[in-house]
Each structure stands twice: as structure tokens, then as C-alpha cells.
Amino acid sequence: MNKDGLGKEYEAGAIIVKQGEAGDCMFVVQEGQVVATLEQNGQESMLGLLGPGDFFGEMCVFEKQPRSATVRAIGQARVLTVDKKNLLRQITVDPTLAFNLLEKMSARIRTLNQQVAWLTGEQENKAAPK
């Protein structure tokens, strides 16, 4: 891990954002890996692994909702914070700044759609009379 790089360093296991907390920024992974998990009914499910260039916490920028997941560093990680205020001001001046965010969010929705379709198919198969 290069100590002189941009962003903030997190040790292995350190919580970067916590589910349920208020947020005023999003994050971009610069170095290392982080994991996003969701806690529901006392059970923790892994949502995904994120690496350099991936962002998370963007939902708090566009919605006034608490953090929807917990994100932790796996090993050492360096993560850059993007301020909500700065981002929204820049998008107002330059809407093209949101292209990359929209592309990534669109790709996530596509993946989720596929997962929903797969899970629905699984349930229908289970429910179908043998």
C-alpha cells in the first residue's frame, strides 16, 4: 500500500460506512478491496466485492436515506471520499459528470434484474407440482 496516494487508508476489517447511518458523501476505491454486506433479520449477507475504480455510497448522494449497507476493508484499502455538496454542485454545472455514475448504476440494475429473474425462476420451479 502506497502511503502517499490519494484518499484515506483503512486497515483490514475497518468499517468505512455503516448500514443505517446518515451519509453526506460517496466513495471511490483507490487501492485494495472492500466488501459490502447487508444485515437483515439478524443475518448478514454479502452484496459484493469492490476494487480499484469502483464506487459505493452513491445512493446517499441522490436520496435522503440512511446507508443501505455496511462496507468494510478487506486487507488494507485506500478509499477516496467524494463530497455530496461538491458532486451535486458540479453536476448542476456539468450534467455530463453524471454519465459514469449513471452507466455504473444502470449496470447494477441490469445485474439485479438478472438475479431477480433467476430467483423467481427458482421459486417457480420449487412451487411447480412434480
Binding site: 496516494g5 456539468d94 455530463t96
Partner: protein
């Protein structure tokens, strides 16, 4: 000049970019990205004679190489992250030095979000090249998108038909290189900076372009070594407000094993630099007994003090220093925003003078207005510097704020941070100074400093430890 109205880029259009610095690479990157989104097939040639992999002046575009907090965040949002080979040091704080004392101001999130980079591959005397050039990194992004790099210098520009009698849609610009080779283009983006001769050829093209007014800045590099940088400089931007008539601002910034000294003001010469280096506050910042005459590299680039009145014309646009840039600070951020505004204008709206006036022209006028606010603010800073009690008041106010959690309006610390790092437009910084809480606290600190005796100035290390 004939009446220009509107002219769109078409499939197969050829675009030349003169200069492969950040403005040229940003423009090439964005124009190719926007064209791709529209399904428009265009060709982009970047003319840049320099080899950025070389050390010293041959590979350098003469600039302090600071990537501002806002640019780092914007580029990360775009999906462009600076590798650690390009960022020689991440900066998370700055230390302000005045004759009345020193204060260390942390970034609001205590995070390294300012990048110190080399435009080339390092100072002239560098023994081992460990880092990548910022300019090469940015150009590679444009090349990955499909731009072509032509290692040649443009020496002349002409229309391929008589401008008085031939309609705009039937004439193109012809560029000539130093080897005598000519190429015809549908559109030309001039991103060559103010230190180049080609701008005169564009003035003679009679498109209404006038090069910006400039002044001389000064940049020096010193070798300190990792240990001395860790001990004395740290991940901080060291800002100086000396009471010298022609220096607005001085800075010492760590980069790898070196530090960069940058002086901004009016026509700075060697004598001014030597006087600055002899200032006790500057000596305080560097290791004891440091040999200030052991210069690793230096340059005296010209920087803008006014923008071009009309940085666009039919089939041509001037971006970055050759057009309009930000006064003193965040030149790279200004190049990014201008390049994007120009690229968006060219792809979505058109390439005739009137097309460019609507969007890119409005962008340039807004930046000039912001620069005028910046000039006013620097004039206020000059007045404040005249009185010892007011200098003490600023230092006291910022020091007190650093002991408390950050407030919504940011106070003096945020005003100084944004003004000296270029993280926010001057207009925004100015509006922040109008906050009643800011004025009340400033007035209180002024009153306290007016009636109390001056304390002994805090030494750098004492202040850094608090």
C-alpha cells in the same frame, strides 16, 4: 469576417489539438467520449513535440503540478483515478506562515485529496525516475480513446480558401509543422499554453482572437530526501504570505523526495526569489542549515493575469492558458472544466463562432467574472497584510477554529483553504466571507489583537504539534 451562424461536426470529421498538456488531453478525451455516445465517427490528432518521459525542462510543461481537491473528486466520479505512480504525494493539510506565527489547517475530512505531481518525469538532477508524468498519464487516456499523438510542433495556420469570399462550410484550417508538412482539419483546439509562439499565428488569422496578458511566475525544485520531508514538510502544502510588494503568494509542496517552491505575483525575478528564500518564515519551514543554492531544477513560466477576450472563432477554440484560466490557482481544474465545456459544445452544438459563443463563450465569461472576484479578494488580503494586528487576527481565528469541530460555514480556515488550494470558485469563497458569524468572529479577533500585545510568533514545529 463573414457572418458565421451554425456548423455541425459530421461523420469523418478531423480535429487537431495543438498541445498535449492537460487541456489538450482532456479535450481529446471528452470530444471522443461525447462523439462515441452520439455515434459520431471523428478523428483526433494531438500535436505535442515534448517527450514527457524525459526529466527536467525537455519533458516538463512548467507548472507546479498541483491537482486540486475538486478535480481529484470530479475525475474519480468520471472513473479516472490517479495512480500512485503519478501522485508523488497526497496532501491532507496546509500550513500558513506569516511573520506573526504559523497555523496548520487540516482538510475538512482529514483525507489526502490534493495531488502533488510532476508534469514531466521529475527535476533535472533526478537520479532514479520512480514516477510517471502527469501529462503522459492524461495523454494516454486520450490515446486509449482513439486519439493519435503526432510528435511535431505546429508553426503556422492558414485557411485553405479565401476567408472573405468562401463560405465557412467550404473552407478548412491548414496546419503546418516545423518539418514543413501540412494537414487540413475541420476543427482545431488550441491548448498550447501562453509560453508558445503559435498563438501569434492565430492572432494573424483574423478570427478575433487576442492572446491573454501574462506575468512571470517562478518555480524551483529542491532535493530533501524522504526522511527530511517526513520530518519537516509532511503531507502538507506550506503556504507563505510574505510582506513583499510583488509576491501574492508563495508555496512549498512535497513531491516524492523533492519539494517544489512556487511563487506567484507580478513579474518575479531572481532577486525577488532570493529575498523570499531569506525570509525567516521560509527558513523555518526547511531543515536547519538547508543549502538554498542547491537548486535541482527551475523555470520561470508565464502565467495568465487576464483571459483572452474571445477564446474561440470559426472552427477553432482556445482552451486552458491560451484561452481563459483560473487566476493563480487550480489551472489544471480550470483546463478540465474548459476542455469539457468546449468538447460538449463542439459535439452537441456546433463549431462555428456563434455556436461556440453560446456555451463555451458563456463558460469563459463566468470564469473571468470569478477571476475578477479573486483579484478583489487578493487585494483585500494585501490590505490585511499591511497591519500586524490584522495578520494576528487571521492567524488567531484560524488557530481557534482548528481546536473545535468544523462548522457549517467553515470560518476562516475554510476560506483560507479554498483560496490557497483553489478547491472552490472565488465567488463561493467570497460569499462565505459574508456570513454574519464569520464577520462577528473576525471583528472579535481583530479587537482582541488590537488591544493585546503581540505574542512571540509560534515556531513551525510548535504549531504543527498542537
Amino acid at each position: 469576417m463573414e457572418n458565421s451562424n451554425t456548423l455541425k461536426l459530421k461523420d469523418g470529421a478531423r480535429i487537431a489539438v495543438i498541445g498535449g498538456g492537460p487541456a489538450g488531453s482532456f479535450f481529446s478525451n471528452f470530444v471522443l467520449m461525447f462523439a462515441d455516445r452520439l455515434g459520431l465517427d471523428i478523428h483526433v490528432d494531438i500535436y505535442e513535440p515534448r517527450d514527457f518521459s524525459l526529466v527536467g525542462p525537455p519533458g516538463c510543461n512548467m507548472c507546479a503540478g498541483i491537482v486540486s481537491e475538486s478535480l481529484v473528486q470530479n475525475m474519480a466520479t468520471e472513473g479516472i483515478n490517479f495512480p500512485t505512480t503519478v501522485v508523488q504525494r497526497g496532501i491532507d493539510s496546509y500550513v500558513l506562515y506569516m511573520d506573526v506565527g504559523t497555523v496548520k489547517i487540516d482538510s475538512s475530512r482529514r483525507e489526502k485529496r490534493i495531488g502533488a505531481t510532476y508534469r514531466g518525469s521529475g527535476p533535472r538532477d533526478v537520479k532514479e525516475v520512480k514516477w510517471d508524468s502527469l501529462d503522459r498519464f492524461l495523454m494516454n487516456l486520450a490515446l486509449e480513446k482513439g486519439a493519435q499523438h503526432i510528435r511535431a510542433r505546429i508553426t503556422d495556420v492558414k485557411w485553405d480558401a479565401d476567408a472573405e469570399t468562401t463560405p465557412l462550410e467550404n473552407r478548412r484550417l491548414v496546419l503546418k509543422t516545423q518539418n514543413g508538412k501540412t494537414e487540413t482539419y475541420d476543427f482545431v483546439a488550441v491548448t498550447a499554453g501562453v509560453n508558445t509562439a503559435i498563438l501569434k499565428a492565430f492572432q494573424e488569422l483574423n478570427i478575433g482572437y487576442q492572446a491573454p496578458q501574462t506575468t512571470k511566475a517562478y518555480i524551483r525544485e529542491y532535493y530533501l530526501g524522504d526522511q527530511a520531508i517526513g520530518e519537516f514538510i509532511g503531507p502538507s502544502f506550506h503556504a507563505f504570505l510574505p510582506t513583499m510588494p510583488n509576491i501574492e503568494f508563495g508555496a512549498i509542496v512535497p513531491k516524492g523526495e523533492y519539494v517544489t517552491l512556487a511563487l506567484l505575483g507580478e513579474d518575479i525575478d531572481t532577486a525577488t526569489v532570493d529575498a523570499f528564500m531569506a525570509d525567516p518564515t521560509v527558513k523555518e519551514c526547511m531543515p536547519p542549515g538547508f543549502a538554498f543554492d542547491k537548486i535541482a531544477c527551475w523555470c520561470g513560466p508565464r502565467i495568465n493575469i487576464t483571459g483572452s477576450a474571445q477564446p474561440y472563432g470559426d472552427r477553432v477554440v482556445f482552451i486552458g492558458d491560451s484561452g481563459v484560466t483560473r487566476l493563480y490557482k487550480d489551472g489544471m481544474g480550470a483546463a478540465y472544466r474548459a476542455a469539457k465545456a468546449a468538447a460538449s459544445n463542439v459535439v452537441f452544438h456546433g463549431i462555428a463562432r456563434d455556436d461556440l459563443a453560446k456555451q463555451y463563450g458563456a463558460f469563459c465569461r463566468a470564469m473571468e467574472t470569478d477571476n475578477n472576484i479573486g483579484k478583489f479578494m487578493f487585494a483585500v488580503v494585501r490590505q490585511i497584510q499591511r497591519f500586524r494586528f490584522s495578520r494576528r487576527a487571521i492567524l488567531r481565528m484560524a488557530s481557534e477554529e482548528q481546536k473545535r469541530p468544523p462548522t457549517a460555514h467553515g470560518g476562516m480556515s475554510m476560506v483560507l483553504w479554498d483560496m490557497f488550494t483553489g478547491s472552490a470558485p472565488y465567488r463561493e469563497v467570497f460569499i462565505r466571507t459574508l456570513h454574519p458569524v464569520f464577520w462577528t468572529r473576525l471583528a472579535w479577533n481583530m479587537a482582541v489583537c488590537l488591544v493585546t500585545r503581540a505574542e512571540t510568533p509560534a515556531t513551525t514545529r510548535t504549531a504543527l504539534e498542537t
